[in-house]
Symmetry: C2
Subunit: 327 residues, 2 copies
């Protein structure tokens, strides 16, 4: 691998000259030497050592992203939004899967800092890991989950309560009286907020909040399946608001198994609008989050923080109801 020194020697100039030319700081370089150097760079297929450059410049032009699991469609779309936006701004992205485990988050936070990433985007598991995040001096923006934190990290979230309210209200307007709610545990912030929206909508429309109609487990297909089975044991249901689309998929599967028609007997609405939502059967009515945009905005905010530009560090994006055929 050629170095700048070797290129300089071949061209009969100093490394400073080569550096300037390669970095566009060549206002004062004669066209002749510029041509010569470029030619040799080309001929030798010279690739600058970015590590050396980063050491000198004290920035790596890479950001880290920590998500629970890229295989989860929500996070793969988020990751894609992040990667695209980062690429546009000249950043690379290091991907980390935490499985919602505090230990993994902490570990990755550490390696990202060692790798001297310029910034970190993460959707943190639960409030528990404040300390690790607090210790972290690297610019950071929290996406999707706004954990309790006093410090100055950026935050990008979605209006979960309002989205949940819309969903529940939609079910009510469709004639549902016994509406179940299946979601993740309360310590998961978005899930807790969606629960609030659900409760609020029920109350606003004179419907009872019945604990037997609420099932809180995980944001997974399995939980959706389990939730329906559990709810059906305890109570009657004619509509289900699912905390996310994965849960809705599992719920519909369970309903089918029980020969309960969707949406005739039970209406189902999800949350997220992940890319396959429209392809399940029946196509899922759901509350769309601008997932990809969440990722884009996260890097915009992060880069602003990195560049110490003054910006709004708390963005809340809106949701939108997408009507399909599951209710």
């Amino acid at each position: 691998m050629a170095t700048i020194k070797e290129i300089a020697k071949m061209a009969g100039v100093s490394t400073a000259t080569v550096s300037k030319i390669l970095n566009g700081k060549d206002q004062y370089i004669s066209e002749a030497t510029r041509q010569k150097v470029l030619e040799i760079v080309e001929r030798e297929g010279y690739i600058p050592n970015g590590i050396a450059k980063s050491l000198k410049m004290r920035r790596t032009k890479t950001i880290g992203i920590i998500v629970p699991d890229v295989m989860n469609l929500f996070f793969s779309e988020l990751a894609r939004g992040v990667e695209d936006a980062a690429e546009k701004k000249g950043y690379s992205v290091i991907l980390c899967n935490s499985d919602n485990k505090e230990v993994k988050e902490e570990k990755y936070l550490n390696v990202l800092q060692e790798k001297m990433v310029d910034g970190i985007i993460m959707t943190a598991a639960e409030d528990s890991m404040n300390k690790a995040i607090k210790r972290c001096k690297t610019p950071m923006v929290l996406v999707d989950r706004d954990i309790e934190l006093d410090m100055s990290v950026g935050r990008i979230t979605v209006n979960n309560e309002e989205g949940a309210y819309k969903a529940t209200k939609f079910l009510i307007e469709r004639g549902c009286k016994d509406i179940g709610f299946i979601s993740s545990e309360k310590k998961n912030k978005p899930s807790a907020e969606r629960l609030s929206g659900y409760i609020k909508a029920l109350k606003d429309h004179g419907l009872n909040v019945d604990d037997r109609k609420i099932f809180l487990q995980n944001f997974t297909i399995d939980s959706g399946y389990n939730g329906v089975m559990a709810l059906l044991e305890k109570t009657n249901i004619d509509g289900i608001f699912c905390g996310n689309d994965l849960i809705a998929i599992g719920a519909i599967q369970a309903l089918k198994e029980k020969k309960i028609k969707v949406p005739e007997k039970v209406k189902v609405i999800g949350f997220d609008d992940i890319s396959i939502a429209q392809f399940i059967d029946p196509p899922l009515t759901t509350i769309r989050q601008p997932i990809y945009k969440l990722g884009e905005e996260a890097v915009n905010m992060l880069v602003a923080i990195i560049e110490k530009r003054d910006i709004n560090r708390n963005i809340v994006l809106e949701t939108e109801l997408v009507e399909r055929r599951s209710c």
Copy 2:
């Protein structure tokens, strides 16, 4: 951010000593200084500068992965396999989405080399971009698509032809006589191989190969939809082998729209067994690829190449038919 120098000063030792202790090369360090140094490191929350370390050591402990699109479930599973295996071996991974575009591949190949990654895992678009790959001096393993290349990159693929043969044979055994094939274009290697398997199975069982029953476009849901619509215009069909599960999803959707029952009227079989295959309606019978394992094996091979260990540089994994209800 504290540096090793500052830590050394605080501890009243040299940087060499600190370095040795931090890297476990402390056989000859007295327990007393070891304790003292560790204590200060802890107290200061010192995080070594990995960039400086990389520059010195000439390795970054990070690998790059270039895939068409992480939002595609196949590649998100692959990426997850890669990330998990990499993490186990102490590597981080930089994620790049190429959208199957040569320009993007070349660009990323370049930034990854600048970033001095220790190795690259990629599923390359088409044969066209040989030159960029050839120029690349970084260890590399090609996954999923074994493009034409003379040099010594590693390859991990799946036995596509055999898998396709199995799929087609299965359809035939289920009584299908008019079997369509919907897949990506032939210049996509796996697609071409699956086409061969399909043709071979047809011939082996005395069935005609009919060009009107073959639709080649992309590995997308839309192509599946388009494929069915196109096939239905031209010919009769009682079974469809889809080049991947996404296509199968689109195909089933189109069939439903046409009120054609699956599997009663037309049987459908996919390829890949992506995670949602079991949740579509009807649950998809498909040829399972060990996608996650593909990713794991890719990093195992890559790390072996990086460490200059002598290993088999051409692994072909087997497929497996997963019977569900779409045929």
